[in-house]
Amino acid sequence: MLGGLARIQNTFFDVPMIAHVMPTLLRVGLPNTILLAVLSSLIGMAVGLMIATGLLARPVGVRLGCRVYVDVLRGLPHILTIYLIGQGLPIAGLSLFGTDTYAYAALSIGLIEGAYMAEIFRAGLQSVERGQIEAARTLGMTKWQTMRDIILPQGIRRVLPPLTGQFILVIKGTALVFLLGLTSSQREIFSIAQDSAINNANLSPLTAAGILYLALTVPMTYAVNAWERRLRGERQGGPANA
């Protein structure tokens, strides 16, 4: 019984080993994970905003194309998409970023996130009251001016909490880029932990990685929830618009 517990502790919670891998995780892994998550999210936001406008566009072809994009990228396992884009593009001769695995990693996650963020943006844009748009158009503002001056500023505010929620998913999603084979200085949290776990035939480095991920994601999750509660309160507490 006690022997079993000791084995579990040695396998998962080997303190010296955690202490050994932690500096590398913090120095190399953490910045890489965050950088990768931020880069992918930026790509995802740009793609997502474009696709969202497409989803709401009038021409059926545009709408359909964007719908297919969203459905396909949300419907595929991320691991498959990352393989196809991250490994596939350079193989297919589309070496947009030379041999920089990091860029392909960011691009593939960004394209996936674009599909999820498109739906978030679409909901945000659609949440803007019809009357706000009519008021703008009545003044003689064009569609584009209305989008820039009314719909986007109002929609973005409501979209920030769910976008941050999506960012938390991206942080976790970056773990998948180990597939693409990163150089030692490019490795993010999971890759470092995995290498170390294999080299030491012990899972404790993965536990260390887990602790880091949780330290990132749990506080952010609570922050987003509080933020959303506040926005909801503002909207309900505000003077009646009806």
Binding site: Q132, A135, R137, L139, M141, D149, I150, Q154, N241
Partner: protein, 248 residues
């Protein structure tokens, strides 16, 4: 008769609009004289708001024509945005831009559509805001204003564009009773200043006192039209009589 033509600011010619199987507007023909106030009354669902929205093409008629100053705005290829600058509109629920303060609400159209510099737009906005009695509230957000104040901002926002025609879509229906009078006074002053106005309203007293012409609509049709004293005191149709019995 060119003079008679020039005296017409807004003309509806056999305007029709269907939603699915229902005719929301059928065969509406109506002239609104320049500088006059036309009040459109009728039960809810009678199509009066839809008719008003056809005046600036927020709703596009299926059939018929709408002419503003003799120009057919329903013709394909018409610059709808340019036309809308000339037609101001005030909504039942104000629809102030919720993320902008009072001053920016009034200046946005001037800056974006009229391409005015910010300083010039603000100067003009301040004049309009003062005219509707809102001095000192320039930096408030709409949410921090009463309904009556919000509607004043909406009126100032529309007037700042210097429209030739003003549309009011039940502008006082969403207001607390004690705030209605103030808005009606602003509207009355505007009418007296010679603005061409189309007013959808349930305020029969306003219609009687201010309107040059009253239009009674029911089920998408104009049932009766005429000067207020005739319409209110000597209704020609049973339907109008019945409506007046209920609202007066």
């Amino acid at each position: 008769m060119p003079d008679a033509e020039a005296a017409v600011a807004v003309r509806f010619e056999r305007v029709g609009k269907r939603y699915g199987a229902t005719d929301v507007l059928s065969d509406i023909s109506l002239d609104a004289g320049r500088g006059t106030t036309t009040c459109i009354i009728g039960p809810s669902g009678s199509g009066k708001s839809t008719l008003l929205r056809c005046t600036n093409l927020l709703t596009r008629p299926d059939t018929g024509r709408v002419l503003i100053d003799g120009v057919d705005i329903t013709r394909p290829g018409v610059d709808v945005d340019a036309m809308r600058v000339r037609v101001g509109m005030v909504f039942q629920h104000f629809h102030l831009f919720s993320h902008l303060d009072v001053l920016d609400n009034v200046t946005l159209g001037l800056r974006r559509v009229r391409r005015m510099a910010r300083a010039e737009a603000e100067a003009r906005a301040l004049v309009q805001l003062r005219a509707v009695g809102l001095e000192g509230l320039e930096r408030r957000r709409p949410a921090a204003l009463s309904g009556g104040q919000q509607q004043r901002v909406a009126i100032a926002r529309a007037l700042a564009m210097e429209p030739a025609v003003m549309l009011f879509d039940e502008a006082t229906s969403a207001l607390d009773p004690e705030l209605v009078k103030g808005i009606l006074k602003v509207m009355r002053d505007l009418a007296l200043s010679g603005m061409t106005m189309l007013v959808v309203t349930h305020e029969m007293r306003f219609a009687r006192e201010v309107a040059g012409n009253v239009v009674f609509m029911d089920r998408g049709r104009i049932v009766e039209t005429g000067p207020p004293d005739r319409l209110f005191d000597h209704p020609q149709t049973a339907r109008l009589q019945q409506f007046l019995d209920q609202v007066l």
